[in-house]
Amino acid sequence: MSKANRRRRELRAAGLLIAPFLLVFTVFFLYPTYKVIALSFTDAPLIGEGTWIGLANYVKLFNDRLFYTSLWNNFYFVLLTVVPTTVIALLIALAVSKLKGRMQALVLTLFFLPYVLPVSVVTMIWTWMLDFQFGILQPLIAAVTGKPVPVFKNPYWVMPMIAVVTIWWTNGFNVLLLIAGLRNIPQDLYEAAALDGATSWQRFWRITWPLLWPITALVLTLQLILQLKLFDQVYLLSNGGPFNQSYVVLMQMYREAFQLNNGGYASAIAMVLFGIIVIVSVLQFQLLRIGARK
């Protein structure tokens, strides 16, 4: 067979193999993305065509007080979740990795279980547990604050409690990633360090922490992206209230698109959030990499 012939056959096979993905990607991602970008420059309703209005949606958005409230709430939520969940996951992973065999598998499963639940079930569980009148956690809250608190109707409690629910729900996955990372650190290194005279504290800070850092950085970045996209928990637990204290950017987008029928404006919100997530996560990942190199 000639060289050209063989090359043609290889290309055909390659094309055949990537075609399904390319098709799905184009139809369900590339085209909708293009539509959202295009839509954000029009005054279109959710369904149907609109007229080109240039940057008017963006100008309106940057003058929208509610947008800044939402954005602030988003960053507040990130602050409440990203680092705490990583620290908690790390502590759990360190503890679980001390266990052996079946016991380790069992405990790991228990920690992973909430992650399997759909968000509606998660919020249902916590709504019950935190119910103002019957919630089994209310005595605990009463013991600390002196009286029961309707947490999802209290402007100070709402975001931290959504953060608690979110951490409980998603922590298992982070534990899993960190366990995998811990298992990748050879046992020899700990033995060598023990012979070198390292205490368990020193073994953690001088071996575990630096060698686990790539995984920790990954967890932090994934969490940042995930938590900036906060919507379901807020929608189901507090619906943005009270006094917009849990109103977040995606919530605003949802309202504009699906309740107020402002497709163009909602698209502009989506584009801005997308931009923020890209910038912040790239920035964070780069910062973490520099931190690791030092």
């Binding site: 050879p186 290194l189 023990a194 012979l195 070198d196 630096p210």
Partner: protein, 361 residues
């Protein structure tokens, strides 16, 4: 208690119901190079790790110098260990790897610098101090691991199969370097290997381990010349000793006449002090280098494979009874495979073992 070196008294180790080390006694004098050798699973690495303190000792006593260290922390035993995998800290430079223990001990900067540079000088690593382990070759990594041990100036160096990840050529080279290093430092060293060539070339004393027991210990050539059982005889020496079943056909003035089971027309007069009764079944051990090709009568070997190494060649074949035979030829180069050769052993160098494997002298 003894004042220097490493001393084990009736040391045992079990993992659950499995006894891995079953009562080991040994004395390694200060400054000696001791080698633990044995097949995989014999417990040699476990024993080393017990001396290091990385494994608990179930029973017995381990002493380093005059100190009983049986239940001390690894760091307090005055030992340093070189791991098979090197166990270098991948995120630290060569310098920091070697300085690790000193940093933990919070030694002054000048002292750290001086000690690390001196060790690096000994090991020819001075040009690589800023590199990360991943940038080094296998041999260099090995040297860093040794350097990390040297910096700690331990009473005892422990090596756990340190050369088994290197290629053959580098292994020979590092072997020589280790021998030189031992002379230079004069410290007690304990070295674990499954490679009997490493054991023979490095050791002052070899401990042959099998099944959690020390089968025999002594200077390398003593083990070669005078193995105390069939296992040691088979393990020490390369290629390993030939074993043939035989029966005692009669007694001579100073020994026995043993008749080969695989070739009954052959019998040998072997000098022995303790003469087993006539008819006793024995095992005769003959080293490949002690079998001579002869034109006269002898053991007839059908050669099927010849390993020609240039200087010497090893002829592999079978006796008429089907028993495998290896014999060595020096200088001669003739294609022997497929032919039937006649060989005779040096009578004074036949080893006699009883059926349970113990040596009959």
């Amino acid at each position: 208690m003894q004042d220097t070196g490493v001393h084990l008294r009736d040391v045992t180790k079990s993992f659950g119901a499995v006894d891995v080390i079953r009562g080991v006694d040994m004395d390694i004098p200060r400054g000696q190079f001791a080698v633990f050798v044995g097949p995989s699973g014999c417990g040699k690495s476990t024993l080393l790790r017990m001396i290091a303190g990385l494994e608990d000792t179930s029973d017995g006593q381990i002493a380093i110098g005059a100190r009983d260290v049986t239940h001390e922390d690894p760091a307090d035993r005055g030992v340093a260990m070189v791991f098979q995998s090197y166990a270098l800290y991948p995120h630290l430079s060569v310098f920091e790897n070697m300085a690790f223990s000193l940093r933990l001990a919070k030694r002054p900067r000048v002292e750290v610098d001086e000690k690390v540079r001196r060790a690096a000088g000994i090991l020819k690593l001075s040009d690589h101090l800023d590199k990360k382990p991943a940038q080094l070759s296998g041999g260099q990594r090995q040297r860093v691991a040794i350097g990390r041990a040297i910096v700690r100036a331990p009473d005892v160096f422990l090596f756990d199969e340190p050369l088994s990840n290197l290629d053959a050529e580098l292994r020979v080279q590092m072997r020589l370097e280790l021998a030189r290093l031992h002379k230079q430092l004069g410290a007690t060293m304990i070295y674990v290997t499954h490679d009997q060539v490493e054991a023979m070339t490095l050791a002052d004393t070899i401990f042959v381990l099998q099944g959690g027991h020390v089968q025999q210990h002594g200077a390398p050539l003593d083990l070669y010349d005078d193995p105390s059982n069939r296992f040691v005889a088979g393990f020490i020496g390369s290629p390993s000793m030939n074993f043939f079943e035989a029966t005692v056909a009669g007694h001579t003035k100073d020994g026995i006449t043993a008749q080969l089971a695989g070739q009954p027309d052959q019998s040998f007069d072997i000098p022995l002090r303790h003469r087993p009764e006539q008819g006793t079944v024995l095992v005769l051990g003959m080293r490949p280098e002690h079998l001579m090709v002869t034109a006269a009568g002898g053991m007839r070997v059908t050669v099927d494979v010849a390993e020609e190494l240039g200087g010497v060649s090893y002829q592999h074949g079978t006796l008429e009874g089907g028993e495998a035979v290896i014999f060595q030829q020096t200088g001669a180069r003739h294609g022997m495979h497929g032919t039937v050769q006649t060989v005779t052993p040096e009578l004074a160098r036949i080893f006699v073992f009883d059926k349970s494997g113990d040596r009959v002298r």
